[in-house]
């Protein structure tokens, strides 16, 4: 399977699991005939039929809650929440139920549930349709959180999520669906908690997630021209997090910038910065820089949205600041 889009890669991981395994099915809003609001499940109804590609009522709480129940019954459900923003309607089920069942049963229950959702700005959908809420979920013991940024990773990680015995919140980025990339012929499930180094460098490590991986790579390219060598590391899964890879990279480069699309303040990047100062304090030559959205609800106005969320130029500015070249 050479050149594949991120969207096709998501679909392929699900279809492959569903072909091999009757216990895997998907449900969500408008995923059947319409193929999902982002076209991810297009064609799956024809292949697997309406029992396994199941349209649901508009009931996010019931979608996740019933997913938990089906998982407890021995299935490996994939549920789709149309917009990440609407995971808010299912928070009780995700946070108090899915994440807690194993713990509260003394390890006797398992909830192998994959909650797929998408979000991300760049197409001006306003304050309630593009948020990046991953920081909420990495704060909940009992969940796993994946946020892949390339077709290959999204395919491998989704497959791994389906076969993970823990509930996984699986974030896809809206603006990456059309991204093309080479993927291996066979799915190679990736272990959770293993980062990918997209680009090696000497002067500064950029830990980036989702869309910002690509912005960071663009920034690294430019920095190169200015004589700054940048390493770009994508943790791929935020929980568990590959702390060792981050620390090893910073020990080599002595500088670190964290970049995500979600708001900077109280964000996932703060945790990365904390880990770096805790474990690599003596290696650091500069404070850890953070790149992310301004602390504002996402504006609907395109120019304002553009201003609020970070781009390659913001990553570049942080890189330069960290190496003292601004």
């Amino acid at each position: 399977m050479p050149e594949t889009t991120y969207r096709e890669a998501v679909r392929d991981a699900m279809s492959e699991a569903m072909r091999r395994d009757e216990s895997v099915f998907i449900m969500g809003e408008d995923i059947a005939e319409m193929g999902g609001s982002m076209g991810v499940t297009q064609g799956m109804l024809d292949e697997f039929g309406p029992d396994r590609v199941r349209n649901t009522p508009i009931s996010e709480m019931a979608i996740v809650g019933a997913g938990i129940g089906a998982a407890m019954a021995g299935m490996r459900p994939i549920v789709e929440i149309m917009y990440q923003d609407f995971t808010t309607l299912a928070m009780e089920q995700i946070v108090n139920q899915a994440a807690k069942h194993r713990y509260m049963s003394g390890g006797q229950l398992k909830v192998p549930l994959t909650i797929r959702t998408q979000g991300g700005a760049g197409w001006s959908p306003g304050a309630q349709h593009a948020q990046q809420l991953e920081a909420w979920f990495v704060h909940v013991p009992g969940l796993k959180v994946a946020f892949p940024s390339t077709p290959e990773d999204v395919r491998n990680l989704l497959y791994a999520s389906i076969y993970d015995d823990n509930p996984v919140i699986f974030f896809e980025h809206r603006t990456l669906y059309g991204l093309k990339g080479d993927v291996p012929e066979e799915i190679e499930p990736v272990e959770f908690g293993k980062a990918r180094i997209h680009r090696e460098g000497e002067d500064v490590t950029v830990v980036a997630t989702g869309r910002l991986v690509h912005e960071a790579l663009a920034a690294a390219e430019e920095a190169e021209g200015e004589g700054i060598s940048v390493e770009v590391l994508d943790p791929r899964t935020l929980l568990p997090l590959d702390e060792d890879a981050i620390v090893a990279s910073v020990e080599k480069t002595n500088r670190c910038v964290v970049a995500h699309e979600a708001v900077v303040r109280m964000g996932f990047g703060a945790e990365v910065a904390a880990i770096v100062q805790e474990r690599a304090f003596d290696y650091l030559d500069a404070p850890v820089g953070r790149v992310g959205a301004k602390f504002s609800p996402l504006p609907f106005a395109p120019i304002m949205e553009e201003y609020v969320v970070p781009h390659a130029r913001d990553v570049l500015a942080a890189i330069k600041k960290t190496v003292g070249k601004n």
């Binding site: 059947a32 009522p57 309607l89």
Partner: protein, 358 residues
């Protein structure tokens, strides 16, 4: 406790079909009222049709089309007093027109421009809700609050057939009933929720059947019949004002257009059915009724349509002549008293922009 009868499944109608079913009249409506309702419907229709064009021309963003929903919107709004609140979903984005909200304001909203903000309390029209059903508890709470303050006003909340599957609908409806809040739950049953038909949303025979479970009356009306919607809403408002609590009104229609400008319904909808529904659309039906009554002349119809076209021409002109937004606004509106860090962010922005905005 009052006895709540099961909802009637029969659709209430006032406008006949010019075949077997005769026309009725609604008590208390003058010719002036009938024409005012027509004017409202034409204004809504014109706004909608022009908006689809503006979207295609790139002058407004993604837009939720409400073609064939004008009857239920105009009919329900007409049954309210000015003090009563309306809680719209995206499907009723232009309902404020009927409360004097300028077309330019609503167009600016769809353009993502700050001049699209209105103060809900100026028009008693709440902000447009896009997350499904979340406005139902708001309406219940506002209505209840009005009652606690000894005010006479009630609230009317619009939501779709799909919205009845949400927890927020259930909790809002139940809360309204328990509190006997003066609210009308107006369910726009256009039979589709994006690609999901109402049959995949519920096994209840009708949506109005749900009302009995909450202990409130459920009424079914032909949502393409502006007078039937008006009459049913008026009764619900009377109940609300009399302290008898909420009513669920199911207005049955058909979404004879895409869900929104970004939607391509060909993958899931039966296009022949859509064509058929388009021939039964609600504005034409009311026009036929008025003509049979001899209330509407060709001249009047022409004039009303021309006026509505003018409103839109002026509206888009005004919306497009708004100066570009001040980007600094991103830090100004999220808090009544922005935390100090936001003041720093704003100062930094002003520095970058060279103090040229705001």
């Amino acid at each position: 406790m009052a006895q709540i009868a099961a909802a009637e499944h029969e659709l209430r109608r006032v406008i006949g079909d010019a075949e077997g079913l005769g026309d009725r009249e609604v008590e208390g409506l003058s010719e002036g009222d009938l024409l005012a309702l027509y004017r409202d419907m034409i204004l809504l229709r014109t706004y909608d049709e022009r908006s689809v064009v503006y979207h295609r021309q790139g002058r407004i963003g993604t837009y939720a089309i409400y073609w064939n929903h004008e009857a239920m919107q105009a009919g329900a709004a007409y049954a309210l007093a000015d003090d009563d609140w309306i809680f719209p979903s995206y499907r009723e984005s232009a309902i404020g027109l009927l409360r004097g909200l300028p077309a330019a304001t609503i167009l600016s909203w769809w353009r993502g421009h700050p001049s699209g903000w209105w103060n809900p309390a100026d028009y008693n029209v709440a902000s447009i809700c896009v997350p499904i059903a979340t406005q139902v508890p708001h309406a219940a709470g506002l209505a209840w609050g009005k009652r606690l303050r000894g005010e006479d006003a009630c609230a009317l909340v619009f939501f779709g057939d799909g919205a009845t599957s949400e927890g927020a609908f259930h909790e809002g409806a139940n809360f309204a009933a328990v509190m006997q809040a003066p609210v009308v739950l107006l369910c726009n049953n256009n039979q589709w929720a994006i690609s999901t038909p109402v049959s995949a949303q519920t096994r209840a025979e009708t949506l109005a059947d749900k009302a009995a479970g909450y202990g409130m009356p459920g009424v079914r009306v032909d949502g393409l019949d502006v007078l039937a919607v008006y009459e049913a809403t008026r009764e619900a408002v009377e109940r609300a004002r009399a302290g008898e609590g909420p009513t669920f009104v199911e207005a049955l229609s058909y979404r004879a257009a895409p869900h929104a400008t970004a939607d391509d319904p060909t993958a899931y909808i039966d296009l022949e059915r859509v064509e058929e529904e388009r021939t039964r659309e609600c504005v034409g039906r009311y026009e036929g009724y008025l003509r049979r009554l001899g209330v509407l002349t060709d001249e009047q119809a022409e004039q009303i349509k021309a006026e509505a076209a003018d409103v839109m021409r002026e509206g888009i002109k005004a919306a497009e002549s708004e100066p570009p937004a001040d980007i600094g606004l991103v830090f100004e509106h999220a808090y009544a008293d922005p935390p100090p860090q936001l003041a720093e962010d704003l100062a930094e922005l002003r520095r970058i922009l060279g103090g040229s905005v705001g």
